[in-house]
């Protein structure tokens, strides 16, 4: 397996862009990544494009990648569209990484693009329900916030976590979002505001859930030899892991076992431990999700994240900055774009280009996305570790 470097990233602002075509969002992010890498579109040998919701939101259920990439002059090459619910973008990135790591290709492109905002919350909710088994749970009325509310109830019961501690995730991430010019929300919030916002699925309120939004992100991945031609500051993909659930009907739902496995695999592959990380972009689709994931991935000891939040240990400048970008909760979660946007965020920190939210001296970062809810388990978990 060859070493793979990220030499270019791009990302649109995240937000509600009802009038903007998806190909425009995709084009902007991809063109930024191509320019950032200093390559020409004709240099790209293979591309993977992640999306999850467009089939429901606009009806564009097929060939999105080809539609976006023709706008930047990428034609004739293999293009594969990738869907893995919320992990669609990170799965596209992983495919691009495998294409280069395997030695088959030297220059690969990963794109994530999404429109989730429709001016109709019920339609967006329906699109997100596609992350569960539509002919089963979703058909009975279980929504994605519902899945997480059920986990939250078990988690709180098991570890004694309070609603206030859950809310602190949203407060922290909104605070970070204020420092990120690309963030959908740049407005701070308080614990009281989180708890008093409209209820979505008890105990999860509106500000405990990621907002509905649109956006795109892209990354250029290359072999070591190619990296040396274009940059003196490549960011290396130190690990990539992708796992699926067990779907055991008697498992404890306050733990996500597939994340424990993916975390172990990724740290083993990178040859480092959680203590070596400077930042982690973790899939905080809901406040409870950040709890379950930082603990599941092994970044924080089991049952301790509430104390971490109370002590500010996951703030920028703390022991481990968790979601310095603002995370899904503030930066936004255009589902298919998120995984690639997380990679872009980590790359910016490792290059020292993250502006006001910069984690000082960052050399190693982790990006994590998990997608969907099936048989009360999670169908996809994707982890990448990047290093200078």
């Amino acid at each position: 397996m060859r070493e793979v470097a990220v030499i270019g990233v791009g990302m649109t602002n995240f937000g509600k862009f009802l009038e903007t075509p998806i190909k425009e969002l995709g084009r902007r992010a991809t063109w930024d990544a191509i320019k950032d890498a200093g390559i020409s579109p004709k240099d790209i040998q293979i591309a993977y494009v992640g999306n999850a919701c467009l089939g429901i939101i606009t009806g564009q259920a097929m060939v999105l990648g080809q539609i976006i990439l023709k706008e930047v002059g990428v034609r004739g090459i293999p293009i594969t569209n990738v869907e893995n619910a919320c992990a669609s973008g990170s799965s596209a990135f992983r495919e691009a990484w495998m294409a280069v790591a395997s030695g088959m290709y030297d220059i690969a492109l990963a794109v994530g693009a999404e429109k989730l905002y429709a001016g109709d919350t019920k339609l967006s909710t329906k699109a997100l329900s596609g992350g569960s088994e539509v002919e089963y749970e979703a058909n009975l009325g279980l929504t994605m916030p519902g899945h997480w509310a059920l986990r939250a109830k078990r988690f709180m019961e098991k570890y004694g976590t309070t609603k206030e501690q859950l809310a602190k995730v949203s407060v922290k991430n909104h605070k970070n979002g204020c420092l990120n010019p690309r963030s959908q929300y740049k407005k701070p919030c308080t614990v009281e505001e989180v708890l008093n916002s409209p209820m979505i699925a008890d105990p999860l309120t509106l500000l405990s859930c990621n907002p509905l939004g649109d956006g795109a992100a892209a990354a250029v991945l290359v072999s070591k030899d190619v990296a040396a031609k274009y940059t003196t500051t490549p960011i290396w993909v130190a690990a990539s892991a992708l796992t699926t659930g067990s779907y055991d009907l008697d498992r404890e739902i306050s733990r996500n076992q597939l994340e424990e496995v993916a975390g172990k695999q990724a740290f083993e592959m990178a040859g480092i431990g959680p203590q070596d990380l400077d930042l982690a972009e973790v899939h905080d689709c809901f406040t409870i999700a950040e709890f379950m994931r930082v603990e599941g991935l092994g970044l924080v000891p089991e049952g301790e994240y509430g104390k971490w939040l109370d002590a500010g240990l996951s703030e920028i400048g703390g022991k481990l900055a968790v979601n310095p970008s603002g995370g899904l909760l503030a930066k936004g979660h255009p589902v298919g774009a998120t995984g690639v946007a997380q990679v872009a965020e980590v790359v910016w920190h490792l290059r020292g280009e993250a502006g006001e939210r910069q984690v000082q001296g960052a050399t190693v970062g982790l990006a994590h996305c998990s997608g969907g809810g099936v048989a009360s388990d999670t169908p996809a978990c994707c982890v990448h570790i990047l290093k200078k």
Binding site: K122, K126, G141, T143, L150, K153, M199, A201, D248, D250
Partner: protein, 143 residues
């Protein structure tokens, strides 16, 4: 009032074949592996543990269980009418988790984990043609 065939409202099962009614009692219909005893709902025809289809048969599963976790859903797809209670019930004796709408209690009332639940068949919603969509649900056992 004239009634044409086209205006007749139907009753449709939300998950076709999910349950059967025996002696006026609804039961979930799943599968069970005769080798390891694992039960599956919805039915899995290849045992996830023994990895074989041999000895995996349709099985009438329990209609009672204990509440595992639940939530009140306030925002849903347009087909549904929130608020409604949704939860997981662990059915006995199979000890597997079933996602289900919860009924038969006041939403302001708090149900504790472990509350004894029993299965009923009720209207889940109506579709855009006015057809009644029915499903299994669970309600607290009244003592």
């Amino acid at each position: 009032m004239s009634t044409s065939l086209y205006e007749e409202k139907k009753t449709i099962e939300a998950i076709p074949g999910a349950y059967e009614i025996v002696d006026n009692q609804p039961h979930l219909v799943g599968t069970q592996c005769s080798t390891c005893g694992a039960a599956f709902f919805p039915p899995r025809y290849i045992c996830s543990y023994c990895l074989t289809d041999e000895g995996v048969q349709k099985a009438r599963l329990g209609n009672k269980g204990k509440l595992y976790s639940y939530t009140i859903i306030h925002v849903a797809s347009k087909e549904f009418n929130p608020p409604y209670a949704f939860g997981f019930v662990i059915i006995e004796p199979e000890n597997i988790r079933i996602p289900t709408v919860l009924t038969g209690f006041d939403l302001d009332e708090e149900l504790k984990s472990g509350t004894e639940m029993e299965m009923v068949i009720e209207t889940l919603r109506h579709d855009e043609h006015g057809n009644e969509i029915v499903s299994y649900m669970f309600r607290p056992v009244v003592r």
